[in-house]
């Protein structure tokens, strides 16, 4: 829950500006951008994600460092489990929203 997971914005949706697809270590999921509405990220930007919401924009280097920190903390698997769980994929509705 308190994990900050770094992800890269790979797709934005003009019709729903508060949603974006992020990629975290090869896994793609939709996250909410509502908490960055004052400074919306663009495709290619890196963000820190908390519980499915992008919370801050960060540099690519900081994103890579954060992933390494999670790895060394032994929390990278937990982080990937969290990311894979976003959107209830795999256990409830199969369709991405």
């Amino acid at each position: 829950m308190c994990l900050a997971i770094p992800g890269k914005i790979v797709e934005l949706f003009p019709g729903t500006p508060h949603l974006a697809t992020v990629e975290v270590a090869g896994v793609r999921r939709k996250v909410d951008l509502g908490l960055l509405e004052d400074n919306l990220p663009e495709s290619g930007d890196w963000v820190l994600i908390h519980v499915g919401f992008a919370m801050s924009k960060i540099s690519e280097q900081d994103a890579l460092d954060q992933m390494q920190t999670l790895r060394i903390l032994g929390e990278d698997e937990q982080a990937m489990q969290e990311v894979r769980g976003y959107g209830l994929e795999g256990f409830d509705d199969k369709k991405p929203s």
């Binding site: 829950m1 308190c2 509502g34 519980v51 969290e82 209830l88």
Partner: protein
């Protein structure tokens, strides 16, 4: 220290550790509290204590949301979920936390519809997918997760999703720090401030700590180098007799915080007059409730909450450990009745709880050493 080689700039880490030794006055004992549970976990995991001089002591603070949640709130949430056609949704961290009748996971085994979600927005999605059920999201967390809960309720309202409510247990970090500073058996010199909470609230809310209490505070990142640099910054302040708020984690934490997140929180939440914290007791204005304009999405306004109060087992000394008065291993139950596999107190449940962190890294290490010792 473990893992140094895996980090960037191992040389800088060594130099920073030397700087700490140079700055720490051998005639003084420094008590520095890391407020955030994420820092506690990192400190044990990295073995930071091994490279700090013995007179620089790190005290573990109250910043683990699972750990400070009183058992009565878990009982209340589970009681609401006993009603027909209710789905109980919560983060995975909550699933093993014991209530008096067992954890959410144990209730699931007895037939309750309990779901793990990784985001409050997924709990809302669950409500959309199950229009004939009511989804209750058991929300916990400090200011890191509260904005996401707020935004989820705003979306529920704007989309008119009425079979969804939030059982709000969000707490705020500043009153907890104040309660610890007011505690008569506590003597602290400085604080390592929480990193991710501060991305939301920024650095200003800490200014009273330096103004009223004259204690330095440095907002810190989570890498070993971040924390060592923060300790250097604190020791420099202590040496010069200064007390100010400094931000070591500038790459993520803006001084002003995240205004959009603060707006969402202000739209949906207001302060409760008081709230009970496990181990710390009742603290005034330390938690959030849902505003009346969102009453329909507030589990507590929508249903009748039993309002259970459960006192912790007398032998457990969670409160003293939480305030940093006792070390985890000094609790009578530590490693005996209370282990990560069979937790009695909440500090043993979460990996960010100081007891679980201590058990997983220090206690297991000590046990392995004693077992390896030739007879």
């Amino acid at each position: 220290m473990r893992f140094v080689d895996e980090f960037r700039d191992p040389e800088v880490i060594t130099k920073t550790a030397e700087e700490i030794r140079r700055l720490a006055d051998p005639s003084r004992h420094y008590r520095i509290m890391e407020v955030c549970g994420g820092h506690t976990h990192a400190i044990y995991r990295f073995g930071l204590k091994d490279i700090l001089p013995s007179n620089v002591e790190l005290i573990h603070g109250p910043g683990c949301p699972v750990c400070v949640l009183p058992m009565g709130r878990i009982d209340d949430g589970l009681a609401l979920a006993q009603q027909p056609d209710v789905i109980f949704a919560a983060f995975g961290d909550m699933m093993r936390v014991p209530g008096t009748q067992g954890s959410p996971l144990e209730h699931k085994a007895r037939g309750m519809d309990v779901r793990i979600v990784y985001s409050p927005s997924d709990a809302l999605k669950l409500a959309k997918a199950n229009p004939n059920k009511h989804v209750m999201f058991f929300a916990i967390g400090f200011e890191t997760t509260a904005p996401s809960s707020a935004l989820t309720l705003m979306r529920a309202k704007s989309e008119g999703i009425r079979n969804f409510s939030l059982f709000c247990n969000h707490v705020t970090i500043i009153p907890a720090i104040r309660a610890i500073l007011d505690s008569p058996d506590m003597r602290l010199d400085a604080f390592i401030g929480p990193g991710h909470v501060s991305t939301v609230i920024g650095c200003r809310p800490y200014e009273w700590i330096v103004r009223d209490e004259h204690k330095p505070i440095v907002i810190s990142g989570f890498e070993p180098l971040d924390m060592l640099q923060s300790i250097v910054m604190l020791l420099r302040q202590l040496k010069s007799g200064e007390a100010k708020v400094e931000n070591q984690y500038k790459r993520v934490v803006p001084w002003e915080g995240n205004r959009a997140a603060l707006r969402a929180m202000a739209e949906v939440f207001q302060l409760r007059p008081y709230f009970e914290w496990r181990g710390l007791g009742f603290i005034s204005q330390s938690a959030l409730r849902i505003r009346d304009s969102y009453a329909e999405w507030d589990s507590e306004q929508r249903f009748t909450v039993p309002g259970v109060r459960v006192t912790d087992p007398k032998a457990a000394q969670c409160g003293e450990v939480l305030k940093g008065v006792l070390k985890p291993a000094q609790c009578k139950l530590f490693g005996k009745e209370c282990t990560p596999e069979q937790p009695v107190g909440a500090l043993m449940v979460s990996s960010e709880g100081s007891c679980a962190a201590y058990y997983n890294y220090e206690h297991r290490k000590a046990m392995a050493t004693s077992l390896a010792w030739p007879a």
